[in-house]
Amino acid sequence: MSLDLELAAPETIYRVLSEDGSELVAEPPALTDDAVVAVMTEMVKARVANGRFFALQRQGRAGTYAPIEGQEATVVGAVAALDPARDWVLPQYREPVALGRYGPEVLRTYALYQRGHPAGGHFPAGVRVFPVQISLAAQIPHALGLAWALRLKGEPGVACVFFGDGASSEGDFYEAGNFAGVLGAPVLFLCVNNGWAISTPLSAQTAATSFAAKAAAFGFPGVRVDGNDALAMISVVAAARERAVGGGGPTLIEAVTFRMGPHTTADDPKRYLPPEQRAGWEGRDPITRLGRHLEGRGLWDGERRAAAEEAAAAEVDAAWEAAEATTVAPDHFFDHVYAEPTPRMVTQRAELRRRLGLDGPDAGAGS
């Protein structure tokens, strides 16, 4: 199967690797060996981080966590096709552990987020990642704004926005898709179809034949890709990016994957998820799949995976320890509401500081 976004039928799922990873079914993306191993390593890291944040929540040390297990290839593959120096990534909430390509600061910032620290929303200047978005689909118009801005500046970048099958039912998706088509803005709409929106299955989410098919109403291509196939994700996102940067406009990419974990650490899928459905996806693990392919090329083995897991654990632990060691002044929440606080906020802050004794002789507060 060749990859032509204009011709892609939204009913066909684009794949590069067979489901078990044993053979190539389409031309793989042109990547160096190092680059494809880096993709594998990032997926392993995302899986390790996922386990760590899940456990930290269970221990009462971290906040509610939305697991990425099973969807690593969707995110890692997509960002592998982006240019971190030029392209924006707008996550929903499940993606940040898989955005290592955008720099180690992303995981460190996300650790602060899971810790409940306000700096968890502040990816450092220069890191083109928007804060985690809880309001479903609200980040999609933001992506269009960023993409519109890049085009006005004549900068050859895109905005790649992640959202789920559930978020595709929100008005923001339709409004942004429609206006993006009108503007021809360089946006990649990346719909992560993981089968479930908490307890709502696809059949209750849409009567459309696919999520990609919705692009027809916007006037730009929609394409379905196997979200558990990292190489396919890279090919599709790279093609969509090239098209957008070249002035061809947006693409809607539906990554078909499966949420192997609960919606969040607060969710219990036993109440709604047929066990056989999850079991059907167990043999399609994205890490196993790319691993088998790379083993065939002599680029991967159990030893390398163990080393990658060890390095990932060390990185995640360091990020978490740093987050746990990061303090915050109790009145920090006054700091960034406005560039300058209103007179009433000044009064309120002074009252809080007085009540907490922050201005006494032993006060050690900064912000």
Binding site: S135, A138, H142, L144, G145, L146, W148, D172, A339
Partner: protein
Amino acid sequence: MAVMTLVEAINHTLHQEMERDGRVLVYGQDVARNGGVFRATDGLLDRFGAQRVVDTPLSEGVIIGTAVGLAAEGFVPVPEIQFLGFSWQAFHQIAGQLARLRYRSDGRFDCPVTVRAPFGGGVRTPELHSEALEAQLVQCPGLKVVLPGSAADAKGLLASAIRDPDPVMFLEPLKGYRLVKDDVPEGEHLVPLGKANTVQAGDDVVLIAWSAQVEVARRAADVLAAEHGLSARVLDLRTLVPLDIEAIVAAVEHTGRAVVVSEAPQSAGFAAEVVATICEEAFYSLEAPVARVGGFDVPYPVGMLEEHYVPDPARVVAAALRVCGEAG
């Protein structure tokens, strides 16, 4: 100085600010080719071109949502919502996103966005064209809420709003677009956000208002002087966030009596906030309970009924007489 209507002052200021700063973008429904349904953006397309003056689809949510992304990339968006009642279709983006970009990014992003929208009623519009939603916006920390009542203030406040690093809801009096007409300074004219204006001095009672109700209060003050021998001060708040608490307190300390005039439904409206502020900060200066004159706790009515809903000078006069201990 030049005499301008309020909408002419808006148009003039948009030209000046777009000229001054190439990052300023104007977009919204019918703003480019048509120059806005009130002509507030007339001429901008010809002068600044289709890259900076853009007609959008009828999508309030994405009009506000794109402003967040444009601002994060360094632009200064000045989107228009055609009527404030339509902003409910963007309220999730206004309250949950635009207001919070700086906060939720812990200070990474400035959000210099000015959302313009016609505010209030009095011109017999269809449903949802005449809303006074200022209190809902004040309840969204991160937003500034600005309501000019004169053409000169429309210029000075709009220029300040566009240059402000935070998102501003700039609410223009629908009824005042062509009715309000006054001297507008040419050239640079900035009115700081957060400073009320004493429109008229007076000693017996202060009438506190904003937007189109400033003119209603002023006319009431004329009646109080001419027919009742009472000297009414008129205080135009101009911005509700930031609120000029000092000016409110100073006025009440001077007069000892106050009437707050607004056109929103009364319960939990911004007038209640003003009254609460007076109670907290100037209670011992009060000679009488503070009165509110406003809309009623009903949806904004249709044209045949709106004259009974929107405050008029007679209702303000009656309230002022009541707080002054005279039969109203």
